[in-house]
């Protein structure tokens, strides 16, 4: 459905997307997972024909993004990272504007608008101005709008950014339903691990413009192997030096003031870890054991965590920006 070949985008000497290639099958939910600034949005923008690639190309629904941009545009629906509704218009009018732009005949348009507004549970608010809508409602409206022309491929750029957990669950349920019921191929970008894990059939982990891993979430996590143990201590340095000697630890990493270990049968080795640290006079403040997550995959591949804190700050700023807009 989507074939990307050596796609590259440079901005004034800085490489945003570096020679990436991948293929997305029909009916798949495909995730581009990575930290902010990794090149996810740039990739989406190129696939949606809003940005011209510096080199390389891609085909969406069989059409080349550089030479058949018009056909590509008809084949895709897109929900942008930042809001793209007209707040001075009602929900219905935003939908209607979209329908007219895509030249959907009036009777079909009206029928689909009412069906889609019901799907995203906004039917009772169809005549309200968008500026009175909450963040979650706006997102739902944008999803409905992007589906109006029945796209074959659906792009979602950070679909749940800045939304509360309940609304996120709601949006996830819509996305799954769309994929199952309508068989739409979905490509989404996210920096939320749980989002990629829950929704995606396959995930491409992208960092600094390159794809560093691509597989199903389960396989990616399997490659980490065994269990993940996270340790916190005042003396991570000392603990790290001690633990490095233990043969049963498959992988050890020190980052952000914590130590992450990968090992098999972690339950059995916990006692050993504690003993090792007490004999060396090092206090452990907390220990946690969990099955590998995509975050662990990212950590293993890059030695960094997906900059969660940075992302949180950005989310908050974006939220404030949205609230500000909503008021004005």
């Amino acid at each position: 459905m989507i074939e990307v070949e050596n796609l590259t985008k440079r901005f004034d000497g800085h490489v945003a997307v570096d020679n990436i290639s991948f293929t997305i099958e029909r009916g798949e939910i495909f995730g581009l997972l990575g930290p902010n600034g990794a090149g996810k949005t740039t990739t989406i923008s190129m696939l949606a024909t809003l940005l011209r690639p510096t080199s390389g190309t891609a085909r969406v629904n069989g059409f080349d993004i550089t030479t058949r941009a018009g056909e590509v545009r008809k084949s895709i629906g897109i929900v942008f990272q930042d809001q793209s509704l007209d707040e001075e218009l009602t929900a219905y009018e935003n939908m209607d504007f979209h329908g007219r732009l895509y030249r959907i005949p009036r009777n079909v348009r009206q029928q689909r608008i009412s069906d889609l507004l019901s799907l995203v549970e906004l039917a009772d608010r169809k005549n309200s101005l968008v500026k009175t809508f909450s963040g979650g409602m706006r997102r739902r409206l944008e999803i409905a709008r992007a589906l109006l022309h029945e796209p074959k491929v659906f792009f979602l750029d950070e679909p749940t950014l800045g939304l509360d957990p309940q609304t996120r669950n709601h949006i996830w349920a819509y996305i799954e339903r769309l994929n199952k019921e309508k068989g739409i191929t979905i490509i989404l970008t996210t920096h939320y691990m749980d989002e990629a894990d829950r929704l995606c059939d396959r995930v491409a982990i992208i960092d600094r413009g390159s794809i560093i891993a691509l597989d199903t979430p389960d396989k990616l996590k399997d490659e980490v192997g065994g269990d993940v143990v996270t340790l916190e201590s005042r003396d991570t340095e000392g603990l790290y030096t001690q633990l490095r000697k233990a043969a049963w630890i498959e992988h050890i990493e020190q980052h952000d003031g914590v130590i992450t270990l990968t090992l098999h049968n972690a339950e059995r080795h916990i006692a050993e870890i504690v003993q090792l640290s007490t004999t060396n006079g090092i206090d452990i403040e907390s220990i946690s054991i969990h099955k590998p997550t995509l975050e662990d995959v990212f950590l293993r591949l890059t030695g960094r965590t997906i900059r969660v804190e940075e992302a949180d700050i950005r989310d908050r700023m974006r939220m404030m920006h949205r609230l500000h807009r909503g008021g004005g």
Binding site: L51, L85, E88, E93, H98, R100, Y102
Partner: protein
């Protein structure tokens, strides 16, 4: 082509009709000019070689001013669409930028025309002293529409180049106000010193103002046909410029 142009036009009209405060607000300044200058200077200013009083003289100028300012504002709205993300929705649709640009221009020009027409009606109640024929009214309307189209396109051209509204004040002070000030909106151009007259004759709005003046008052120092040619040429040039710059927008 026309269906998309109509769609964009329709959105502009809906926004316009919905924002009554903005509508009223943008009539405030021209009304203020009309009342203060019209009544304030009416008794002390005489137009050389004309029986017309000053109020009657500036009415076409104020109408032109209303149309011009409203259309520049409408064109510059594109910046908001850029900032608030709505432009992306339009640009990713399978329509050409030309269609979007035309729709936006026509929408802005229509709004500006309506605002100008409101001033025209108000001024006829205040007492412009014009005895306008239907034909004259049509001539004035043509010039109002040309001002609307050209300056909306001009606004879009500016907006296409600007990242945000910070530069707006600069454009207002150094481009828009001089264009208004140098036009014959507030003073008769044929009694000016030669150097200043050549400046006013280089100002496209002068031809718009004089065209409206010819239509409403029946007299003007500029031949209306020539005025029409200049305004039509200016409009084409601005639409071309706006189209070129709008096409270059990168999101």
């Amino acid at each position: 082509m026309m269906d998309i142009v109509y769609t964009i036009w329709l959105r502009n009209m809906k926004r316009y009709l919905r924002s009554r405060s903005r509508m009223a607000g943008s009539l405030g300044m021209p009304l203020f000019f009309l009342l203060v200058l019209g009544f304030g200077l009416n008794s002390i200013v005489r137009i050389p070689g004309s029986k017309q009083d000053y109020m009657g003289f500036i009415v076409p100028g104020i109408i032109a001013m209303t149309v011009m300012f409203t259309s520049v504002f409408s064109g510059i709205q594109v910046i908001w669409d850029k900032q608030f993300g709505f432009l992306k929705e339009t640009l990713v649709a399978p329509v050409s930028r030309l269609e979007i640009m035309f729709g936006q221009t026509l929408g802005g020009a229509t709004i500006a025309f309506i605002q100008g027409f409101i001033i025209l009606i108000i001024s006829s109640f205040i007492g412009s002293g014009h005895h306008t024929t239907l034909q004259g009214l049509l001539i004035a309307a043509v010039f109002m529409m040309l001002i609307g189209l050209s300056f909306t396109a001009f606004g879009i051209a500016i907006a296409s180049k600007m990242e945000d509204m910070h530069g707006f004040q600069l454009i207002m002070n150094f481009v828009i106000f001089p264009i208004f000030g140098l036009s014959g909106a507030l003073f008769p151009i044929n009694s000016l010193p030669a150097w200043l007259q050549s400046l006013t004759l280089g100002d496209p709005l002068t031809y718009g103002v004089e065209g409206i003046r010819y239509g409403l008052a029946g007299v003007s120092p500029i031949n209306p046909f020539m005025g029409f040619m200049v305004m039509a040429g200016f409009t084409l040039a601005m639409v071309a410029l706006g189209t070129v710059l709008f096409r270059q927008i990168n999101l």
